[in-house]
Structures are given as C-alpha cells and as structure tokens.
C-alpha cells in the first residue's frame, strides 16, 4: 500500500465504524474539496450507496457554482440530500457585514443545531483536518458535543489506537472526523489520483484561485497560476502560506476559531 492507500483505508474504517455504531448518521457536505473527498470515501466504504443523509448547511451566501455542483452530483451519486437553512435569521437580515462571528454562528452553527434536533442525528461525519487550524489539531476522530452543543475541549475522552467512542450519552451527539489525519496536499494528491470532481473555483483564472471556499462574501482568492489539479499539487508542495489565509473568520480575532468551535461550529 502506498501512503494515499493508507490514508484512505483508515478513513474507510472510521466511516464504517460510525455507521456500525450509530443508527442515525449524517454527512456534512459543503461541496468543498474536503467534504467531497469524504463523500467519495463514504461511497467506497458502502459500495456506492451511502446509507444515511448528506447534509448541506446553506447560508444562502455561497458561490453560485457551489449550488450547481451540489445538484449535479447529488443526482449522479444518488445521494439522500438534506438542505438546511436558518430561515428565521435570514428573514431578520443576518449577513456577514456586521460580525463574521455572529453570522457564522447564526447561519451555520444554529442551522446545524436545528437540523440535528429535527432529524435526531446521533453522529455527524465532517471532513475537518488537523493541519487546517491549530484548534482542529486538538480534535479527536470521535468527538462528543454536549447537551448545549458545546465542545468540552478541556476534557476530551481518550482515544486509544483505533478504539473510538462507542456510544453517545443522552442529549449528546458525536462529531466524527474520518479525515483528521489528512493534509491539504494529501487531499489534492488523492483528488488527482481518483479523478474526484471539484468546483472550478479552485482552479486559477486570471492568476487567482480559491484555496478554501465557503461563503462568497467571506472568501478571498489567492494569487496562483495553478489552473489544473496537477499544478495545484505542485504549488502546494512549495507554498509557505496557509490554506485558510483567505478565510475572514480566522482573522477577526486570534481566538475566534476556538470560540466558534466550542459553540458547535464545524
């Protein structure tokens, strides 16, 4: 096995473990490269048919390319797609221009909370990676969220070898992170090898490309000439800037990410 096979196999094991342990799972799909890769791995794990819903938390501020990508592949891959919005907050005019923290919290975290409550999800699969952000580096593969949706990062359960948390306590759900051990470069190398479709916002146009995509309002492109997956891999092998350098919520305050995550942010 080469190293991409090792990464993939560990992720498949975790995805299957989640489905085996919990009756009610959901996979969060933002249509970004990471969650699309997770979706790809889940399709492999279940021989083509993912046996639980795939959830899109829609802030309504996403790039238009994201919506068309979602609809194309949800159909092609036979996904049970669940789209969720915090309509109340949107009607009251919530937008990212006042405070990134408040907007992310209302349109992502609160919308997710509502979805979990409505559908009774016990476990959610997310494509976060340790190398994305220092706070995410502290995560477990199976990470409990309490009654109030909080991440008690100061008292996480031990996770020894590949024995993952076996049950969720009452009124708790688990965040499951099958790709925690991947790096940004690993993801792109795997996308290249597997020919996984990605949104073309990642590819350079007019010497700019997005390295991380989310809401159109809060993402800035980086300078790049990488107009193919092969060139992205080459670019990342040499870069000295971080992946989320274009993400606004990371810049507002040094500890914004920790506060967002402890309140249940993805």
């Amino acid at each position: 096995m080469n190293y991409l096979d090792e990464l993939e196999n560990k992720s498949i094991y975790i995805v299957r473990e989640a489905a085996s342990r919990f009756c009610s799972c959901g996979l969060l799909w933002s249509m970004g490269k990471d969650s699309t890769t997770l979706l790809w791995i889940a399709r492999k794990a279940f021989f083509g048919k993912i046996p639980f819903p795939v959830i899109h938390i829609d802030t309504s501020f996403k790039f238009k390319e994201i919506y068309s990508f979602r609809d194309t592949y949800a159909k092609k891959w036979g996904l049970n797609l669940l789209v969720s919005q915090n309509k109340g907050a949107l009607e009251k005019g919530m937008n990212p221009h006042a405070s990134k923290f408040d907007c992310c919290h209302a349109l992502k975290t609160e919308a997710l909370k509502e979805t979990i409550k409505t559908h009774g999800f016990e476990a959610l699969l997310l494509a976060i990676r340790r190398d994305e952000h220092g706070i995410r580096a502290k995560e477990r593969y199976f990470s409990p969220r309490d009654f109030n949706f909080n991440w008690d990062y100061s008292d996480q359960p031990p996770e020894l070898w590949d024995f993952y948390k076996s049950q969720a306590n009452i009124k708790e759900h688990l965040r499951i992170h099958p790709m925690l051990h991947w790096t940004e470069l690993d993801v792109w190398r795997y996308i290249q090898r597997e020919k996984i479709p990605v949104i073309d916002l990642y590819l350079a146009k007019n010497k700019k490309r997005y390295r991380s995509i989310g809401c159109a309002t809060c993402c800035a492109p980086v300078e790049s000439n990488a107009d193919s997956i092969k060139k992205i891999v080459r670019e990342l092998e040499q870069t000295k800037t971080s992946e989320r350098s274009g993400r606004a919520q990371d810049k507002e305050d040094v500890y914004t990410m920790q506060r967002l995550r402890s309140l249940g942010y993805m």
Binding site: E6, Q156, S166, T183, T241
Partner: protein, 407 residues
Amino acid sequence: MNELIKLVICGHVDHGKSTLIGRLLLDTKSLTNEKVQELENVASLNKKEPDLAFLTDQFEEERRENKTIDTTEIYFKTKKRRYCLIDTPGHIEFIKNMMTGATHADAGILVIDVAEGIKEQTMRHLVFLRSVGIKKIIVCVNKMDLVDFDCRRFRDVEKSILEFLVRLGITPLYILPLSAKKGVNILKNAKALAWFGGPSLIKALDVLVPEIRKGHRPLRLPIQDVYRKDGETIFVGQVESGGVKTGQKIVALPSGEETQVTSIKIFERKKRTAFAGENIGLTFKDAKTIVRGTIICQKENPPCACDHFTASVFWLAPEPLSNNKKMILRSVTQEVGCQCECIETRIDASAFKVLEPNAQYLKENELGKVSFRTERLVVLEPFDSIAPMGRFILECRGAVCGVGIIG
C-alpha cells in the same frame, strides 16, 4: 519522501516539549508565513517574547497558563522524510490525553530538563510508553544552555535515565544533549557541544527505521460490519495481519465455523488478494455464525479462543479497579463483558516499583498485572506477535477506564 513517521513527545511538565516542537518546525522551515506572524501577534498581545510553545498550545487557556492541555498532531519534513509530531501534556491530570497521543505513535521522544533531571512524569510517561508497546525511544536532555553546556551535568542525567530504562527493558536509540530554546544540536552538531560525539536530533530521527508490516504473518481479519447489497451478504473488515485470497479456506472464531472465501470486494472492483491494512468486503460460501466481532483466520494453526486471560493493565478511571468489577472489554472489533478476577501485582507507574502482590485494587494511573474472565469466548494473542490482537481497552458505562496489552 512520502514516508511518514509519527513521534510522540513526552516528559515532565515544563521540561520543554512544546518548545522543542516549535523549534523543529521553525528550523526545518515547516511553518507558514501566517504561523510566524501569529506567533508575533500573540506575543505582542501578551507583551512577551515570541514563545515557540504557542505553535502547539492553541487554546487560550494553554497560552495564558503556559501549559499543554490536550494532545496535538503537527507535521514537519526533513530532506529524508515526513514526520508527524504528537505533542502531549506533561501534567498528571491530563494523562489520558498523553495516552491518546502515545497510542498513535511509532516512536517516542522523551524530553528531560538537564537542571531538574528525572521527575515523576518522566518516569510515568516512560512506563506508559512501554505499557502500550512503544520501545523506540530517543531521549533529549534539554535546556543545556542553562548549565553552560556542561558535559558532566549531561552525563549525570544520562546515567540516571539509563538506569531507569534498563529496569523497563528499553534500550534508548540515542540520548542527546540539546537546547530547544536556543536551537542547539537540533539540525546539526554545535560547537558548544563539541565534547558530544553523537548525532544532532534531526540526524538521529532520520536514521529511525520504521516498523514495517511483517509479511508471512497468519491471517487475522476482524469483521467490522455486515452489509446486504443486491441480494448478496458482504462482510467488511480490516485485514490486521497476513493476507487473504479468493478461494481460501478459513476458520471463523470464536465459533470455529469453517468456510471458504468466494470473493474479495472493494467499490466497483473485485480483488484476488488483500493484505494487512486493507479494508475490504468478503463473501463466503457459507456463513452461519459470522457477525461483527468474528475473527477470520487461516485454517492452519488458528489461535485459541479463550474466556480467561492475564494482561498488563494501565488503569485510568478515578474509581479504582477491584476484584469482581464488571466491565466491557474491546479488542479489535470484539466486545464482550468481562470481570476482574485477580490483581496479581500492583505497580507504581511513576517509579515502576511493585507496590504489592495480590492487591485489592488498582488506583487511577497505576499499572498492574491483572487476570480477567470474559462472558463469551474471545480471541487474544501476545502483543509482540500480532500487536492489534494483543491490545485492548476496558470500558465502564461507555467511558474508557483502562488500557492493556497481552504479554
């Protein structure tokens, strides 16, 4: 270049673990521009010098109180290969976080402050590394700048740590003098340490030999789940040892049912063979007793299923382990109720000393040789022959309370 070695960094509180990691990242140029900037921003916010430990201590509390709370994984690379550094907390109250880091490592780096020498957590961490099967250890005698790079001070620490390692049955790969804060003997040998004939830390790391999955091992494939697809029953699992091929005759334990592999499946493909580390689907000619937790083994010389075993256990729960205590044993995908029959020895993990034989209890953070009886038959083998089949955890009410290895 894609080879990855995972290193767990351990040692007593304040001996410089996080600083050493920061230094390795900085000197191997593995930091992004933003990370360097963030380091400076936080330093100006707190009106202090930039602190290398901040790179891994990401929580506000960790930075304010200057201590690591939880384990972190972070990557760097040398000219030879990639490394994943697993930072762990040195405070005793966070030992379960240290263990989480340690069970995912290939080798350990033990950091000792030359001025303080061996302390309680130095020993406890070593005992723990040994009790989860990590025997490749590099000892870094840190803060040499604080003793003017004095050879004698280094030799004193070297002598005492060697004595302790010998008692544990561990031969360290290297014992190195260095200064993480000043960057001495990290990338290359330093003039200040001219008396030291050994390698720099990076050189010592680059000669580490990774554990390779041993070939010609007997087949062990614990079943993880059973899927029904298009009228077919597919048994999925990860090959933990050896290999499997289509047509092979196997035995399913603990039931002892004998059958034959009719196909090996991965998504959109069939395979003829699969080896250790691969997650596959299998179909069998017959499968009356095969469920999650069944161990698929080769027919020749299969292991024994047992309902009684003795193991070395590290206890983690505040409530002590006592005779007759009932728990859940988890080993690979096996899960079975078990009961503590006898605590044969109780060992102080911070000194590796037997406290008493035939003990009544094992307290939090203590080590013991313990015998158990299980409610059903399980397959367990010596850790040194097939590691995944020789390790287990113990759970009470869904929470991990102990960890152990066989042998």
